[in-house]
């Protein structure tokens, strides 16, 4: 134990006096020592080690050192490795006897340590990452001293210390690692123990120092041992004499100088280090023969001792010889660790000259700068200084709180975006005054009234009785104040205020913009002609296709032919029955009028116009075409064709069709060969289609769909429009099927007219409406016109002009503009133009039929006042 203390003391001296290298170490080591010493209980290992009569301090120191050799293997300059191996093992080789035991232990431990060393290596590797950072400081320090070698060493040391730290921690953690440490340490310790035992001298002490500071001192010594050239070169580079742990104090001199002496130098105490006994040739030979380790025994030039190289050293040497990386554990193919950055440094070590552009000011940058400058000038952006100044100014300014801010502007309330202020209360009037003018004070009557409304106070004009006080002082407290306030608050709270969007729509805006009637000329405006001559109501009129004559018939049972230009009645043909319908044959090569007189339909040749045609018509109708088609009973009972004779013929009547019911309407097909007759009472035989050329009749419908009012042929297609009381059905006569059903949505259809284009029909109803159906649009009316005050009796389209007219029982004839565009996308334009009211009322009937002139924009109306009027 005494020895231990001594050593410790010496050690302390050593460290204090000579070892600059270890200047850093103490900090770390001490801290570790302290830690370890603090945690006495944990020092199981150290105690164990202490059992080997070595101070824990030393152990630790040595622990530091021992691993150094290990670590050196990892990352060390190779030169030093060689030397080191020389040295460190010399000390080991001191005690050969003990060597065995050690080697045994080692051999045992080697197996174990192979595992452990792996672990350690792993650890070291992990630590290696740390090393550069920690070593940097050291490096910087050492650089000042221009001692590159020492830097290496220092790095090792620091890494060692770290290792030892780790190890010490590891000791606590894993037994295995402890064991390996023990073993490692044990080796060295044993060495030392042997040294003590053998030498127990200063030389030994110096040796110990060697073992402690193995690398540094050894390096120096070995350097000396090496070739002189090397030495000379390295003499100053490795001149770290004052820092080394030296056992031989002769210094860094060629040892051959001591060849002549029996000592090779002096130890710290100034005593000679005697050269070890050199055997003669024979001894050497014997040794070579006997000693199995002879091949690996080398001589320490400084001390003259023999050193047996350890297995590790030999491995190392062999590896070096094989030009392999000395460290076995070094992974050549491991991931590249970038010790030095590859990035371009601020002051790169490049030889090529700078590019020209690096000397020229950058243009985009200049642009950017100019932009910024401009923005600064314009005040769009502010420099930080300005901003700071502003901020300061703001903070320095006195901050005022707007006391009445909410009075005139919306409060900034969260989640209320459109704040609606509470409605202002009415300002108090004179009645509220404490001293109101006398007229505001209640008189008895008013007071009585006020009192009478006690139960219904909200009906009162005032909610209080005006009171008069002489002075304000006498005014008492208002008793209802709190209540009223509360009521108001409730009102405001419980009745959320909302913005009401009020639309102001002018009635004019709702009316579609129609062109002015002035722009739609020509249309009939004035009455130009009155056709007088009938003795009773004129029920129906029709115009000659050329537009020279019209024909009319009515209750006076006469068919009259009129000249339009003069209003002269040219002919009167008695028909023997109330004429309900007349229709001029549209075929211009025939001169025929179909007249529905009671149950008869007369085909009359009016004998006006072209004589050739009238004669031809007569000739044609004289001959009865023979047909062998058997007429069915159903048709036969409904209608019989009869050739006119005698008086009839002279009157112009050519053919008579005797129907079984009163014929209400007769209408021609556009080609003038077929004509349809309507008998509303005919049940399922209401409609008859008659063919003039073959004198044949057909009943197109087997079932009646209702009371049929009127029928109409399509001007182009083979369609028949059949109007019942409510609806209009369109039948395809060729396919014999219903195509469409137009819903009039009215009570009673009276009349029907089709636009010459064939796509629009106009329906007049007794319930005062006129319905414009666009067949392309829908089955519902495109437009409903309520122009008349009473039922509409007749409607008509003009063949050429965009005009239509309607006559009603209110004696009014209304002319309207009805433009149908060829463009299918554009709907018809309907503009009522003129109301013409000249007929006189007769038995509540006004106008019974309406018709346009086939060419001119003139309209005719047949009135119940037995006149026909023409408007131009």
């Amino acid at each position: 134990m005494k020895n231990q203390r001594k050593i410790v003391k010496r050690k302390l001296n050593n460290t204090l006096t000579e070892n600059n290298v270890k200047k850093e170490e103490p900090d770390s080591t001490k801290s570790i020592f302290e830690e370890e010493s603090d945690s006495g209980a944990e020092d199981l290992l150290s105690t164990e080690v202490n059992n080997n009569d070595e101070s824990s301090d030393e152990e630790v120191n040595e622990n530091e050192d021992v691993p150094v050799s290990d670590t050196e293997q990892d990352q060390i300059v190779f030169e030093s490795d060689d030397e080191e191996s020389d040295l460190s093992f010399e000390t080991d080789s001191d005690d050969l006897g003990l060597d065995y035991s050690e080697s045994d232990e080692e051999s045992i431990s080697l197996n174990e340590s192979s595992d452990e060393s792996k672990d350690e290596n792993l650890e070291k590797k992990s630590k290696n990452f740390n090393i550069p950072t920690t070593s940097k400081d050291n490096v910087s320090e050492k650089l000042k001293r221009n001692e590159s070698s020492k830097t290496n060493i220092n790095i090792k040391n620091t890494s060692d210390t770290l290792q030892t730290k780790k190890q010490s921690k590891k000791q606590k953690k894993t037994n295995k690692i402890n064991k390996s440490d023990e073993l490692n340490i044990g080796e060295v310790q044993k060495d030392k123990v042997q040294n003590k035992k053998n030498l127990k001298s200063d030389i030994e002490k110096s040796k110990r120092k060697d073992t402690k500071n193995n690398t540094e001192s050894n390096i120096n010594n070995e350097n000396n041992d090496k070739t002189i050239a090397d030495q000379e070169v390295d003499e100053y580079e490795y001149d770290s004499s004052d820092e080394e742990d030296i056992r031989n104090t002769v210094g860094n001199i060629p040892m051959k100088w001591y060849d002549e002496y029996d000592h090779i130098g002096y130890n710290w105490d100034g005593k000679k280090i005697i050269k070890p006994q050199k055997g003669d040739q024979l001894d050497n030979f014997l040794k070579r023969m006997e000693d199995p380790d002879f091949w690996r025994t080398i001589k320490d030039p400084q001390t003259g001792q023999d050193v047996v190289l350890s297995e590790a050293d030999i491995d190392l040497i062999t590896r070096i010889q094989k030009r392999k990386i000395p460290d076995i554990t070094f992974d050549e193919y491991g991931p590249w660790i970038e010790w030095f950055t590859s990035e371009v440094m601020k002051t790169p070590l490049r030889k090529f000259p700078e590019h020209k552009r690096s000397f020229l000011p950058s243009k985009p940058e200049a642009r950017k700068v100019s932009k910024l400058v401009h923005a600064l000038k314009m005040g769009w952006i502010k420099s930080t200084a300005e901003l700071k100044k502003e901020r300061e100014q703001k903070t320095n300014e006195p901050q005022f709180y707007m006391l009445w801010q909410s009075d005139d502007q919306a409060e900034e309330m969260r989640r209320i975006h459109k704040h609606i202020p509470a409605p202002k209360r009415h300002l108090p009037g004179h009645a509220e005054s404490y001293n109101p003018p006398p007229e505001y004070l209640f008189d008895n009557k008013e007071l009585k009234e006020w009192n009478k409304l006690q139960t219904t106070p909200w009906k009162r004009k005032l909610h209080f009785i005006p009171q008069k006080y002489n002075s304000l002082r006498e005014v008492p407290a208002y008793p209802k104040y709190v209540k009223e306030r509360f009521q108001r608050c409730l009102d405001l709270y419980l009745c959320p205020r909302a913005l009401k969007m009020r639309l102001t729509i002018e009635p004019e805006a709702l009316v579609p913009q129609l062109p002015s009637p002035k722009d739609l000329q020509p249309f009939p405006t004035t009455m130009s002609m009155v056709f007088k001559g009938h003795a009773d109501m004129v029920r129906s009129i029709t115009a000659e296709p050329m537009g020279q004559y019209i024909a009319s018939g009515g209750d006076d049972m006469n068919l009259k032919i009129w000249e339009i230009a003069t209003g002269r009645c040219i002919k009167t043909i008695p028909c023997g029955g109330i004429i309900r319908s007349v229709a001029w044959c549209p075929n211009q090569s025939l001169s025929l009028i179909a007249v529905a007189a009671e149950k008869k339909v007369l085909l009359i040749n009016p004998d006006v116009g072209d004589h050739l045609i009238t004669n031809k018509t007569n000739q044609l109708l004289e001959i009865i075409p023979q047909s062998d088609v058997i007429v069915s009973e159903r048709v036969k009972t409904a209608v019989q064709w009869e050739q006119a004779e005698g008086d009839y013929w002279t009157n112009g009547i050519r053919i008579i069709l005797n129907h079984f019911k009163i014929v209400k309407q007769v209408t021609w097909h556009g080609k003038g060969d077929y004509f349809a007759t309507v008998m509303p009472d005919g049940q399922n035989r209401s409609v008859l289609i008659n063919q003039l050329s073959k004198r044949r009749s057909q009943l197109p419908f087997t079932r009646s769909k209702g009371l049929i009012q009127c029928v109409l042929f399509h001007p182009i297609r083979p369609y028949l429009f059949v109007a019942t009381q409510r609806n209009v059905r369109i039948y395809d006569l060729i396919k014999q099927e219903m195509i469409k059903k137009l819903l009039s949505n009215s009570q009673w259809i009276s009349s029907m007219a089709i636009h010459p284009g064939g796509d629009n029909i106009l329906v007049g109803t007794y319930d005062r409406k006129m319905l414009w159906f666009d067949l392309d649009l829908s089955t519902k009316p495109y437009q409903t016109l309520r122009l008349h005050g009473t039922g509409v009796r007749g409607v008509a389209f003009h063949k050429r002009y965009p005009l239509f007219a309607s006559g009603a029982d209110d004696r009014g004839l209304i002319v309207s503009h009805g433009m149908v565009y060829n463009d299918l996308l554009q709907n018809a334009l309907i503009v009522p133009l003129k109301r013409l009211c000249n007929h006189e009322s007769y038995n509540d009937f006004g106008i019974l039929d309406v018709m346009f002139h086939p060419i001119q924009p003139w309209v005719f109306s047949a009135g119940a006042d037995s006149t026909i009027r023409m408007y131009t």
Partner: protein
């Protein structure tokens, strides 16, 4: 001076009197008159002046023309209307007032009189009862000529000598008949029946040298016929035609011209070879009878019922399917076609006729039972309303300057005697 006596509170203008009638000439020095002066006052003024300067003693009625339009209102209003400067001397032309026509006679027929033609003292009328009548201007009925089968729509004289006369009648029976009338024997012969129209005829007009006539009708064709006696200008073709025809009287048109789309309502020769027609298709067409084509076309916006052409003023007046009479100048190609619109009738105007001697005067007959005498210089109001008809006036004639004749739907022909002024 009369003007001197008037108070000078109202603005005054300087006027100068001018006349084309030399017997009524007054010294042409400017006079200052107040602007509110009315024609009556001017009349007295002129009469005063006349009495001073000439030996005219009795008062004469004058009409005053300012800016070639009759002064009907006060001078100031007229000036305002015409936009004349009051700074300058206003020339006031005065003419002797047209004397009011006097109703002379009423010739009663059995039916509507739809056509009338006057030649010297003979009045030829056509009726709706298919007959023609010949009357003297004195009102003596000379002859009834049945022959047509439909109402006669137009009649025209072709020639008239002391003992023989030729005239033509156009009817709705699609024929025009040329009649030969022996005045001494008072017998009528149907010389030719002009067949060719396919529908009723509406108008007939004989050209100035009485050799050809033109007819128009509802078949939209304009046909030109020879009026000459068949015997005289008989050539081979017509002879063969005559052989074919039943009566040997049938005449076929010299030329048929197609162009109108609707009925031709009026035909008039404006030149030797030029025919102007009016039609229901809203157009007036000017035809060349020789070449047989349309020379010019005037479009109106109403159907035309009648037209007449004046050789004196070379303008056309038309009656159309409204109450206006329009004056066209067929020569002008640019500007508005309608030169003047005469509005006073309240119904369709059916017939218009120029005065044969005065370039400004014409008469019109309308469905408002009125015949009116117009001066082209007075578009707002006619000179005289010639009332008398109790129904529509269907036709009128002023071939003889002395008589204005009109026929109407009241079955009468009214004769108004016009005292013509020599200018």
């Amino acid at each position: 001076m009369a003007s001197a006596t008037i108070n000078n509170s109202t603005p005054q203008v300087q006027i100068k009197f001018l006349t084309k009638q030399e017997q009524y000439a007054v010294p042409d020095f400017p006079l200052s008159v107040h602007t509110s002066i009315v024609p009556n006052e001017l009349n007295t003024l002129v009469n005063e002046l006349l009495k001073e300067s000439t030996d005219v003693k009795n008062n004469i009625e004058f009409d005053f023309l300012v800016c070639s339009q009759f002064l009907r209102t006060s001078l100031s209003e007229h000036i305002l209307e015409k936009n004349i400067s009051t700074e300058e001397v206003i020339i006031v032309e005065y003419v002797e007032k047209y004397p009011p026509p006097e109703p002379q006679d009423c010739l009663i027929h059995d039916d509507w009189v739809s056509a009338v033609a006057v030649c010297e003292k003979w009045i030829l009328t056509g009726c709706y009862d298919n007959t023609l009548h010949i009357w003297t201007s004195k009102g003596k009925h000379h002859l009834v000529i049945p022959g047509h089968t439909s109402p006669i729509k137009a009649v025209a004289w072709i020639s008239l000598t002391s003992d023989m006369a030729t005239f033509v009648s156009a009817s709705q029976d699609q024929t025009a008949i040329i009649w030969d009338w022996n005045i001494i024997k008072n017998s009528v012969d149907c010389i030719h029946v002009c067949r060719g129209h396919e529908r009723g005829l509406e108008a007939v007009n004989v050209n100035y040298d009485k050799t050809v006539m033109a007819t128009g009708g509802w078949d939209t064709m304009l046909k030109i016929w020879s009026t000459a006696n068949q015997d005289e200008n008989e050539d081979g073709e017509s002879a063969s035609k005559r052989l074919k025809s039943e009566h040997g009287k049938t005449r076929i048109p010299k030329r048929t011209m197609k162009g109108h789309k609707e009925a031709i309502s009026g035909v008039v020769w404006s030149d030797k070879t030029e025919i102007i027609t009016s039609s229901w298709d809203h157009t007036i067409k000017i035809w060349d009878s020789e070449l047989g084509g349309i020379k010019h076309e005037l479009a109106g916006n109403k159907s035309f019922f009648d037209l007449d052409y004046s050789t004196l003023s070379r303008t056309v007046i038309t009656a159309s399917a409204d109450r206006h009479i329009r004056l066209y100048d067929p020569r002008s190609t640019e500007g508005t076609l309608v030169k003047t619109i005469f509005t006073s009738h309240t119904q369709w105007v059916q017939s218009v006729r120029w005065s044969p001697v005065d370039e400004n005067l014409f008469i019109s007959g309308a469905y408002d039972n009125e015949m009116k005498l117009w001066d082209t210089r007075s578009p707002k109001a006619p000179l005289f309303d010639l009332s008398g008809h109790e129904d529509k006036v269907l036709c009128c004639n002023w071939s003889n300057p002395k008589f204005m004749v009109s026929g109407g739907a009241d079955n009468t022909v009214r004769i108004f005697k016009s005292k013509h002024i020599v200018r």
